[in-house]
Symmetry: C2
Subunit: 465 residues, 2 copies
């Protein structure tokens, strides 16, 4: 696709829509918008534009569509697959001014928010009403809810509460022709034609620009217990995961961390933790609810399972400070690797019971290709994040051979019934691996759906396929 460059005339029109102060053209001003959290990738747009209303987005999209200018929508730029990188230049559509919580409806337990609201800000506003919006990616303190929608985001509580797909009821979306639609209705159930809401979720900004989000809310749990269980090795910890569900318990979080990950955050992030010699891997397990007896009964069931799988030690967090510290250990693991090493992050997901095979295969592949990895993630969902660390690998091997290793990991993931990404999306960096899982027929359907919404291909080009 040959896109056009932004001419001074087009820039003038853009500026007329959003005002001078919401258009950035200097390279220095645009630096923050040239990358996300994906490796060390940088792509500069020709211009950063910050609209504040659906109507402004409508005029901008129409204009860019007419002139064949690429448009890359961007949330907070916390993505891990390069989805928000303006790889073809053009307009970077920064959604940060869409930052209003429009309504929290305590009667129907729904909320309407703009896509540029920080996820945790929204969660806290909802919590103040005694309600829960449970979709909490690790980056919740900085990511936008709009980005969460675009990536079909998850987080630790998916295991009990479901992914963002189960909380998004309706979306206001601007199409490339400038039309503004609502994808569905503000209802908990929907059987009124193709579900455009669900199609939009996880489409990574390639089908339309989301400008309003209606979410479902639920009553908040009033108490929780957090425990950290240590196991002799990865295999034992991963095998315990599916046994916990078979014991009849659905924890509100069930996170896996390998020893290497804990060592890493102790070394780099000032985490204070008494790491015993025989602790090979950990499960961080949260049980929540509204009734103490019930929670304790569930913990008891979990304990029985943990022992069966060789768990040596269970640490119960006995204060909210200790809970926060254990969660911080888990949450910083990804960012810690990113900040301290050249790295690549993969987001594998398999059926829950296949986790032991997956992690074993990842380590074997690493041994064969000479890379180290830090593995952790939402084990309860079968979702394992793999941080590959350059370590002693030569630049040449890192730039050439590593790809074959990653390919092997994805081939294993797919052979176990899984797929390439559970919550990070495909974006720019994973698209080359898509053919491992998907056929030409599948691609052809996706490409044709793309063409329905964006016939000229101006929206977030170069992503997914």
């Amino acid at each position: 696709m040959d896109y056009n460059r932004i001419t001074p005339e087009i820039l003038f029109e853009i500026t007329a829509v959003v005002g001078n102060e919401n258009v950035l053209t200097q390279r220095s001003e645009m630096e923050n918008y040239s990358h996300d959290e994906t490796e060390d990738l940088h792509f500069y747009p020709e211009v950063v534009v910050k609209p504040a209303t659906p109507e402004q987005v409508s005029v901008l999209l129409k204009l860019c569509n007419q002139h064949l200018i690429p448009v890359t929508p961007r949330g907070a730029g916390t993505g891990l697959s390069g989805g928000a990188l303006p790889v073809k230049g053009g307009v970077l559509l920064a959604m940060e001014r869409f930052n209003r919580i429009i309504e929290i409806d305590e009667q129907s337990l729904q909320a309407t928010v703009e896509p540029g609201v920080i996820t945790e800000v929204f969660m806290n506003a909802v919590a103040q009403k005694g309600l829960l919006y449970p979709v909490d990616p690790a980056s919740k303190g900085s990511c936008f809810i709009g980005g969460n929608v675009s990536h079909g985001s998850g987080g630790p509580r998916v295991v009990k509460y479901g992914t963002i797909r189960e909380y998004i009821l309706n979306l206001q979306v601007v199409l490339t022709n400038g039309d503004i639609i609502w994808t569905g209705a503000n209802t908990l159930k929907y059987a009124s034609g193709y579900n455009l809401t669900q199609l939009m979720i996880g489409s990574e900004g390639t089908l339309g620009v989301v400008t309003k989000i209606v979410t479902k809310l639920i009553p908040a749990p009033t108490q929780d217990v957090l425990m950290l269980a240590s196991f002799p090795d990865n295999n034992a910890a991963c095998a315990a995961v599916s046994a916990i569900f078979r014991a009849g318990v659905v924890p509100s979080a069930l996170e896996f961390m390998e020893r290497r990950g804990v060592e890493w955050v102790i070394a780099h992030d000032g985490i204070v933790f008494d790491l015993k010699d025989d602790a090979g891997a950990f499960l961080l397990i949260e049980v929540d609810g509204t009734n103490q007896e019930q929670i304790f009964a569930e913990c008891e069931k979990i304990n029985v399972v943990l022992e069966e799988f060789g768990c040596k030690d269970v640490l119960f967090a006995d204060s909210s400070a200790q809970k926060e510290e254990l969660w911080r250990m888990r949450r910083v693991m990804g960012i810690s690797v990113k900040s301290n090493s050249v790295y690549k992050e993969e987001d594998t997901v398999v059926p829950r019971a296949e986790l032991p095979r997956l992690i074993k295969g990842i380590k074997e592949t690493g041994a064969r290709y000479g890379f180290e990895s830090v593995c952790y993630g939402h084990a309860g969902d079968g979702n394992l994040h793999v941080n590959i660390i350059k370590g002693g690998m030569s630049d040449e091997d890192w730039n050439t051979k590593l790809k074959d290793g990653i390919r092997e990991i994805f081939e294993l993931t797919v052979s176990l019934g899984g797929t390439l990404s559970g919550e990070h999306g495909i974006g720019l960096v994973q698209k080359e691996f898509m053919p491992i899982k998907y056929s030409e027929t599948h691609f052809s359907l996706m490409r044709s759906i793309k063409a329905v919404f964006d016939p000229k291909g101006i929206l977030n080009p170069g992503k997914i396929f």
Copy 2:
């Protein structure tokens, strides 16, 4: 669209695919396939074909696509919107031979089933393993899980456990060109391109033919309490619904029944029930879990709310026989109206707190147009089924004026933030009302998506739009 008729040559080819015994051409044999549970509508196909493998479906679709023969996929024929009616003739693709439960994976808590499995048969098979597949439409004893997928079905337990959308992980689908694909992966999370699984759910057999279904399973609750609360009037009962959630409780069922519905099933279905004079409306409330203390605490909270909203009497079911009888009262309500009167059924859904306004409006519309209605449904989801009874309405009014009344009901539904159907689908009979809610832009997107999957328009023509 001008379709072709099935010639003897084409019939010969069809028969060669599935065998003589799986092709019906006599009108008498096809009677059962000429209707579903929607009003008194009958449409005969030219031929009923019963494939048993994805490969057979593939050959059949390819053949029909080549010859421009309409193909209408059909589950158990329990639909309430005419979705399975072969309105353009052609092939009725009866999926009843796809009746195997292929695997219940107790390790990963997933199952793989064929679309022609009866929902309750599947639920029971899963329950025998101590697991729960909670999607239980009223017709669960006869409907197929494939039909549930096609309609995005719900049922009473959606309110706690979510709709079928949250339980379908992956679908094997045959496309009109004969290609067989899996729409996703067997994983609890999915961020790997457009979610074709979710697009397929609720598409009413217009995009492809589902031949295998991978579902999520969850640990089964071990106990429940069922109570029937009576209120002075519809408004009080409906208003209590959203207050129950605000009190921090999510019941596993929260069903509304108006007095007229209870009178109706007492009169027609041998239901024995002591209907008090001051009982104007009912909520049937189920709370489930694994811990008795927790369940009782939740019931206590619910009781406080019920009293606040003027509830006069709460009946606790104290045996499984009594539970079954209360559930039967709710379940037969729809079929009772269908069996004893000329009727039309609408499937309105609104944000939960708008229920009182919705039911008030429905009754006012009825009074104005001279029709009686029996209202009941999944109040916890804001999903109200409206059975319109012909009663004393003249044939002429029934056939002409009633439509305006229904239109008014849908206009009200939409004005309250709702939509035309929460779980029954649009099918044939609701499509004329779709423009009340959806714009030409929305239709155009849906039509174009349809064309991506089925460029010649052979699959279930005449439905949704």
